[in-house]
Symmetry: C2
């Protein structure tokens, strides 16, 4: 595997290194660069101080990488130092870009009027944001901060983008189109990639399979990574052009051994499959311990109103009875967390929402509420369909309240997928 | 501000630098270290390859930092190289820890039996995970991987923890208790810290306030960071002992200027405030565009079953009518996204769930479904209380479908907070 272009990504912000928020830009940029065939060996978050950003840039230049993408620190506040540090790194003076100053002034004028803000505070911010390293290309602001494309002589190309993810993502096409960036990327050949997803498959089993296949296949041209994403195991295979055959042989071998747990071979997520399977149908949800998370997950997707009729979060027993039609005596006899009540909740949700599919979750999310019989992590699921199909599951999940809830959502999504693939739209 | 102990955090994993998952361990560790008074200038994610992890360790040793915490790469697969690279960094040979091998074997025996796994695959994994740099302290496994505490002679202390967040977090107390770690931390004085939270306050307004206050106060002993977290602006002030008075003066000045938007002065989140205010009461939700996210957010918290009666996700108009009792003619006359329907949904949720407070959200999350009158991002909210209180809001939110939904949840939480602070429990 020959690395053709390597890039480093630096996210700036004291709130990142303090751990108060997770960096969203690094992973997003890494994905975009990976799609283009650029290898990203390093993602860094550094505090807002001059020295740390400067040290990070030097580290990456020495690594060496050919491209550095920096996010954040372009704002109006005193701790926004990125333009200044990048200018010093590139050996260029910081100068006022007058055209950019007017552009920003225009953007701010309408903003100030709309938000009823102090025009003076905005004017000061304005000037600072229009300071650009001499010789750099300034990218048109999406918010109020321009992006920058700066070359360090004999070193990497540096692309600077604003910190707010929405602005950064909106500016990315302009960064790619910048002449220096375009010519850097022109020679890069995209990787080949295959992504396999499995449900309920322990990582040690995949390891054994890869070891076994490695005895008869030369896997060295492949970069294989396995990654547990909650209840799904993702196996990613990336390779330079020329290694298609061995990749294919590996994929066949892996699928052959773990077909029962296979979710997809094209990187499709369970959510995408569920959305496709539900097209032309309607689903109704009855949730207890997941508190609306299953319905929220289904309605994440644009267009989901075509197939999500709705859901009831029946946290209290009264609500299970009055809103989902669960017989009170069923709750009394078996308890609110029981396969019997799960079944009644699924049927109730399906009927109340006049849907084709009903899905329910009831369990003990913890940390309190567990009993010897029904400990924290015990969760019952049921999916019923209008044609009489029933798919039920009882599981014992480990982890914190948040983990039990999250994993319950995963299990529910998989059951919906299985139930929906069994039946055809009415 | 004198830095007493600086630490660098390195998360390993090709899935991290590929951007396929966001690093959860770095932020968590940074918060824990920050609470202890340790400054964290760098968070790094590196790929699974030897050279990148080695380069990252060298970079941090040269920075210099006195402590490096590494997460991940302790697993059984071939790309798990952390122990080996850290051993080389510390100049120590990797040796089999026989006691640890038996410990791991015991853990795996019960796991293999429970999961019906190949004992042979697990045995191979076992031996690899028991290899420890000579002279290092091995920390008891939480999953199957032991942690490591290793000193590089004349350099930083390196603590290695497993990658799965649950295992890493569970092992943290043992890492802190390790003799070398304990003596390193013994001399560190915790920072003073104040955290202010505001709702609906633009960052530029805070900047202006800080500039103004900086003209009459010497703010140099304070480290001030501002951070927009969706609709809340967090202003964090951190300082070494001795700067309490200036911190207090700054806090007073900021609060004085932005009292109306203040959420809390003790770092309390809106969610915590809402939970406290709802104690002794019951809330019912009626959601449309948020698809269950408000109910899910409220039920995130342990003990929320005491005050969350439940919620209805009424995605379809039929469901609004049948499950929330919204008059069909109201939807016909004003549309499903209207203040009138929001009011009826809130009342309906309150009554259906026999609750004291009802809250509703109905809006156009997009990307489709917008009209000139009611564009994407137009969202109506209503909170009604049993004593006749009504709090209504119409907003125009910017951003993607996910952003509109997320921000709608924030607005709903703030309205619930306001409504609940107006009334007293019945």
């Amino acid at each position: 595997v020959v690395a053709e272009l390597r890039a480093g990504i630096v996210a700036t912000g004291s709130e990142l290194v303090a751990g108060r928020i997770a960096d969203a830009n690094g992973p997003w940029l890494a994905q975009r660069l990976g799609e283009l065939g650029v290898e990203v060996p390093y993602l860094l978050s550094v505090s807002d101080r001059r020295d740390e950003l400067a040290a990070a840039l030097t580290f990456l230049a020495d690594a060496p990488v050919g491209l550095i993408v920096v996010s954040g620190g372009l704002g109006p506040t005193a701790d926004d130092l990125t333009a200044e540090v990048v200018a010093a790194f590139a050996g260029a003076e910081l100068v006022l870009d007058e055209a950019m100053e007017s552009t920003i002034a225009e953007i701010l004028a309408s903003y100030a009027a709309r938000m009823d803000l102090s025009a003076e505070a905005l004017r000061v911010a304005n000037r600072k944001q229009a300071m650009v390293p001499r010789g750099a290309l300034a990218l048109q602001p999406v918010g109020t901060a321009p992006g920058l494309v700066v070359r360090r002589a004999g070193g990497p190309l540096v692309v600077v983008l604003p910190g707010p993810p929405r602005e950064l993502q909106a500016m990315w096409p302009a960064a790619l189109a910048a002449p220096e960036m375009a010519s850097l990327l022109a020679g890069v050949r995209p990787f080949g990639a295959v992504s396999l997803r499995f449900f309920s498959l322990p990582e040690s089993e995949i390891t054994a399979t890869l070891t076994e296949l490695g005895e008869r296949l030369d896997l060295s041209p492949l970069e294989i990574t396995t990654c547990q994403r909650r209840s799904e195991l993702e196996v990613d295979i990336r390779f330079r052009p020329g290694a298609e055959a061995v990749s294919e042989a590996l994929v066949d071998g892996v699928i052959d051994r773990h077909r029962k747990q296979l979710v997809s071979t094209d990187g499709t997520t369970t959510d995408e499959q569920v959305a496709a399977l539900l097209t032309g149908r309607r689903i109704g949800l009855g949730e207890s311990c997941t508190g609306g998370l299953v319905t929220a997950r289904l309605t994440d997707r644009p267009g989901s109103s075509d197939y999500v009729a709705g859901g009831v979060v029946a946290y209290s027993n009264d609500a299970k009875v009055s809103l989902l039609g669960v017989p009170a005596e069923l709750i009394e006899r078996h308890g609110a967390v029981s396969p019997e009540v799960a079944r009644a909740m699924a049927d109730g949700a399906r009927k109340r929402f006049d849907a084709d599919i009903g899905c329910s979750v009831t369990g003990v999310a913890g940390p309190g509420g567990g009993t010897p019989d029904k400990p924290v992590g015990y969760v019952c699921f049921c999916v019923t369909t209008a044609d009489g199909g029933v798919l039920a599951r009882e599981v014992h999940l480990r982890g914190s309240r948040a983990e039990v809830r999250e994993r319950s959502v995963d299990v529910a999504m998989h059951l919906i997928r299985r139930a929906a693939s069994r039946t055809t739209p009415s």
